[in-house]
């Protein structure tokens, strides 16, 4: 039961802060091998930025930016990136997710290829975690109906 929560302070601050949250999430994903963070944490922050928009505005505003269809596609896309990099290593003759072998297809040496492989995996994980977070929140908050406002 949420009333018409038409508050200009909360809406403005959430609208201004959301891009910075998303940039920070990308930083956490991309900087994951040198500092705390990685795909899961960055994906959670990305998902939380959309959840913040749902709380400040309503579900329709977020579904205009991130539709249900796009969300499901991105949820699968992350898994495909993850499994695709792993299977590429397998096809090239190494173990599953053994990124060092990727230097045969990438124009870098084995050490760089390992770092690039890790980054690719983390991007895939981040995309999936973000979509699943948004999907879980939208389904719980609206009782599976995906209508505006919130639970009655």
């Amino acid at each position: 039961m949420i009333k018409d929560f038409d508050n200009i302070i909360i809406k403005t601050v959430c609208r201004i802060l959301t891009p910075f949250l998303q940039i920070f999430a990308l930083y956490v994903i991309a900087h994951g091998h040198y500092s705390p963070g990685g795909g899961f944490q960055g994906g959670c922050i990305l998902g939380a930025s959309f959840i913040l928009l749902v709380i400040a505005y309503d579900i329709d505003t977020v579904k205009k930016r991130m539709s249900e269809k796009l969300n499901t596609v991105m949820c699968s896309l992350g898994v495909i990136i993850y499994a695709g990099i792993g299977l590429t290593c397998l096809i090239l003759g190494a173990n599953y997710l053994d990124y060092g072998i990727l230097h045969r297809v990438l124009p870098v040496d084995a050490v760089k290829a390992r770092a690039m492989g890790t980054l690719g995996i983390e991007i895939g994980v981040g995309i999936t975690v973000m979509s699943v977070m948004i999907s879980i929140f939208l389904n719980i908050a609206s009782g599976g109906k995906h209508e505006e406002g919130a639970i009655d």
Binding site: K3, F5, N7, I10, V13, C14, I16, L17, F20
Partner: protein, 108 residues
Amino acid sequence: MIILSIILIITGVFFFFTATFGLLRFPDFYSRLQATGKGDTLGSLLMLAGLALYNLSSGISLASILVSVKLLLIAVFIFIANPTATHALTRAGQDAGVEPWTKEEKSK
């Protein structure tokens, strides 16, 4: 520079202490929010400024300046987000019908 950062951090700890004291001792929802909203914001601002200064005191290089700028960015984020969160909580409490505390209520 170290002395200045120590002064800033101790002032920040003092504001955190008063905020927690207010949270524990004030009588109702709104006054507790008022204590924590103001005290936490100022306390974390002062402590982050002190930590940024302390980080610079061991030698100014590009890496240490970068770390200090990140700390100040956290401070700016808290300065925007914390009062807004307090405002949202107060509005939610008002919409849910939380009554403010008065003296008459206590004497009953």
